[in-house]
């Protein structure tokens, strides 16, 4: 479903991605792990073109995302993204955060958007917080609203960039729980994470990235229990 061919990305002289190739299937949950600065976020952001790659191609369902004339705004609607720092719209209520894009982009009626949004907020366990502003929510609640916001566009793929890294430990679980439900429903997901437990339990495949290269990939069992690459071994020995 997602095909990445020879992806290169540099910031000025700094080469961050040095030729990534991969193939992600429908309903697959891929967890991306690796040391800080290895290019995990950049990889994810290239997929929905928040960063422009210098070289290489990305296809979603056969459509080339990286084509110069690609309708990127429509393609992005099919890819939800969840950020480390939530990036909720502070001037909108949680309900408005969720309904804004469907109403403005899909021209959905407010009633219908509200219906869907309330359903999604219930799903992430925040059915009672629809008229609250983001500043009144805890970190875990904010991230769950952010997930609902992304889901409201009914995306085919969800991209998560360290969704729990800025959360207090006691809030990590509630967010992972929501993501787990999503995975069970068959959502295609790419999750950059430091939560090895989540990767092992929920991930179908794990990518290990280092220095802009996809060093090793495999099932959680392969990567965590029997890593082949010495870099993977040394990274896992530090984090596990």
């Amino acid at each position: 479903m997602i095909v990445v061919n020879n992806l290169h990305k540099s910031f000025g002289k700094l080469e961050v991605l040095k030729g990534i190739d991969c193939h992600i299937h429908q309903k697959e949950v891929v967890c991306v792990i690796g040391p800080s600065g290895s290019g995990k976020s950049t990889f994810l952001r290239c997929i929905n073109r928040l960063e422009e790659a210098q070289q290489g191609k990305i296809f979603i369902d056969g459509e080339e995302v990286t084509a110069p004339n690609a309708d990127i705004n429509r393609i992005r609607q099919e890819m939800g993204m969840v950020f480390q720092l939530f990036n909720l719209f502070p001037h909108k209520t949680t309900l408005e955060n969720v309904t804004l894009a469907p109403i403005k982009i899909k021209k959905m009626s407010k009633e219908k958007a509200d219906d869907i949004a309330i359903g999604l907020l219930r799903k992430v366990g925040l059915g009672d917080k629809d008229h609250v502003f983001p500043s009144q929510l805890s970190g875990g609640q904010k991230q769950r609203v952010a997930i609902a916001r992304a889901l409201a566009m009914q995306p085919k793929v969800m991209l998560f960039d360290e969704p729990t890294s800025s959360l207090d430990p006691e809030m990590v679980g509630e967010v992972l729980e929501v993501m787990k439900d999503l995975a069970h429903e068959g959502m295609t997901m790419i999750v950059v994470t430091h939560e090895m437990g989540f990767a092992r339990e929920v991930g179908h495949r794990v990518f290990f990235m280092d220095e802009g290269i996809l060093m090793e990939e495999g099932t959680p069992a392969q990567i965590f229990d029997n890593p082949q690459n010495p870099r993977t071994q040394s990274f896992l020995s530090k984090v596990l």
Binding site: N73, I75, R76, L100, I105, R149, A150, M153
Partner: protein
């Protein structure tokens, strides 16, 4: 300081008023209150129209300055630099005596509004630009990641947040502008300062006349800043 009345008389406000009425400068001010009022009204009019022009120009120039198109960006930068880099007083004279007559037949008041509006627009542009840039980068990314165009993200996400940020510096700019309209008295616009000049030239009551002018300006700027505080508070609770 001998005010000419004893302590007991202080108690009775009327006595003070009576004494004041014996002072020539006070008479000048009281007799000319309608003139001051008219001058202040004109000051307010010029300020309001200049603000309107300045806001529109400022928004356009701010967006132009952030544009990726080179020509638009250069024009915006040139406009902002010129009007921020030269004295308003000189701009008023240049526009009124030099440039505007080449274009159309403008009255002094129209010229004053054009000059002040152009000048204010340059400052407003920088305020708006700073406000937009002060909005967290993640906001634009979140909006774009949902599939909004750059324009939609600006309108629905960035502007509303920038708006709150720019209110205090904008109010400040309006207060400066109101005070700076005093410069248009140079082209015979009968606003508050011009009223003061005329009255002072015929009465030489410097302290009284300019004191009264100050009071009028102060009332207007204070009203503006109260309005600003109120807006800020309303936005904060939203």
């Amino acid at each position: 300081m001998n005010l000419g009345f004893t302590n007991t008389e202080w108690i009775f406000g009327t006595t003070i008023i009576d004494r004041l009425h014996e002072i020539y400068g006070f008479q000048v001010v009281v007799n000319n209150l309608p003139n001051f009022g008219m001058g202040a009204w004109l000051t307010l009019e010029i300020t309001v129209f200049s603000i309107a022009i300045g806001m529109v120009l400022g928004l356009i120039a701010a967006l132009g300055r952030m544009s990726k198109i080179k020509v638009i960006k250069s024009i915006a930068v040139a406009y902002i630099d010129f009007f921020r880099g030269t004295p308003l007083f000189v701009q008023i004279l240049l526009l009124y005596f030099g440039i505007i007559p080449l274009i159309f037949d403008a009255s002094p008041i129209q010229s004053a509004i054009i000059a002040c509006g152009l000048n204010s627009g340059a400052y407003v542009a920088e305020i708006i630009r700073a406000g937009i840039q002060a909005v967290d980068k993640g906001q634009m990314e979140a909006a774009r990641s949902l599939g909004m165009t750059h324009g939609q993200a600006m309108i629905h996400i960035i502007f509303p947040q920038a708006f709150k940020i720019v209110i205090p510096p904008l109010i400040n700019e309006f207060i400066m502008l109101l005070k700076d309209t005093s410069l248009v008295s140079a082209i015979s616009v009968g606003e508050l300062t011009h009223t003061g000049k005329m009255l002072y030239a015929s009465t030489y009551q410097a302290v009284w006349v300019w004191g009264a002018v100050c009071v009028f300006y102060f009332i207007m700027t204070k009203a503006l800043s109260i309005l600003g505080d109120w807006t800020e508070r309303r936005l904060a609770t939203e």
